[in-house]
């Protein structure tokens, strides 16, 4: 097979390149059909609670609080706060304020100390994801047939 003369290649190469370039762009078509998007917004699904958390005594209430904190069920925990506290913060705000919690362990470390017949303190030890451990006193009020969490303060 004889080779093409070099002089001819000088013509053919740019010619072929031009034809390919123009061919590609002249045959490209853009289709744009009419379209519309509609949304059904505001759909909400919430789950109930199916684990029975025991708040029948201050100690059991403290243990239940621990389980809820570790499993990050802050919405459920909110239901077990005393009513005065719930009036100061919404469920959403409470869950939001707790969402960065890194509690990995929660132990009740004392017998309940009754301040009145309807208020008791329980000491707890909480371990965090970074390895730190702190002691707390949790206060529970008897309200609506169960011991509800009034608050928690760090102790020595």
């Amino acid at each position: 097979m004889s080779k093409l003369p070099k002089g001819l290649l000088v013509y053919l190469v740019p010619l072929a390149g031009t034809l390919i370039f123009l061919n590609v762009f002249s045959t490209s078509k853009v289709y744009s059909y009419f379209s519309e998007t509609k949304s059904i917004e505001g759909n909400v699904v919430s789950t109930g609670t199916w684990t029975n958390y025991d708040f029948s005594t201050p100690t059991k209430a403290a243990e239940s609080v621990g389980m809820l904190l570790i499993s990050k069920r802050f919405n459920t925990l909110y239901q077990h706060l005393v009513s005065d506290l719930k009036e100061t913060i919404s469920e959403k705000e409470f869950a939001e304020s707790m969402k960065n919690s890194t509690i990995i362990d929660y132990k009740v470390s004392s017998e309940p100390k009754y301040k009145t017949s309807k208020q008791a303190e329980v000491k707890t030890k909480i371990s965090y994801g970074n390895g730190a451990t702190k002691s707390f006193i949790s206060v529970f009020n008897y309200e609506g047939g169960e011991w509800k969490l009034l608050g928690t303060a760090e102790s020595d």
Partner: protein, 180 residues
């Protein structure tokens, strides 16, 4: 220098060849006016009923469902349409374990409300309901219904207890002969 000239010459010939093939020459010998012509562009529109909150479920528990909820879709435009459906959590926070655990069943019905096709079912996760093209067309003014059901599988863990998710159901419509 000579090579550059040859190169440019070749380029010019290429342009002339392609250009000459696409030029249309028209010699007008007579002209007749047919009067005013009108071209009206079709409109494409879709309405949904309800427009908000198809699902508003509280206290959903493992092994329970929402029951079938009815969506009415109407072609309110002037051209035939086809459509697809997707579900998106409203934001990253709502893309939680509950949203990822929910399952769906979606049924399309014909005009006479006879079951046409069932999508999803046990094991079909709501989070995977993306760009599902429904195999039915809506002619101009036509209305059809979908029935959608959401369920929480019995295997759902305790870690979704007491949680909430918010999501949107999105319908994309396009011309019957079009492409999404």
């Amino acid at each position: 220098m000579a090579k550059i000239k040859y190169f440019l010459l070749g380029l010019l010939i290429g342009v002339i060849l392609v250009g000459s093939a696409s030029v249309v020459k028209a010699y007008l010998l007579k002209q007749k006016v047919l009067g005013e012509s009108t071209v009206t562009v079709a409109t494409l529109d879709l309405s949904t009923t309800p427009q908000t909150a198809l699902f508003n479920l509280t206290k959903l528990a493992p092994g329970t469902t929402s029951g079938e909820q009815i969506i009415r879709l109407k072609n309110t435009g002037s051209t035939g349409i086809k459509y697809r459906v997707s579900v998106f959590p409203t934001n990253a926070e709502n893309d939680n374990k509950l949203f990822q655990s929910l399952e769906y069943t979606l049924k399309s019905y014909t005009l006479g409300e006879n079951l046409s096709k069932t999508y999803g079912g046990t094991g079909s996760l709501l989070k995977d309901l993306q760009n599902l093209e429904i195999n039915q067309r809506l002619a101009e003014g036509e209305e059809k219904i979908l029935k959608m059901e959401i369920s929480l599988p019995a295997s759902a863990g305790n870690d979704i207890e007491g949680t909430t998710t918010n999501f949107n159901i999105v319908f994309d419509a396009t011309q019957s002969e079009g492409e999404f």
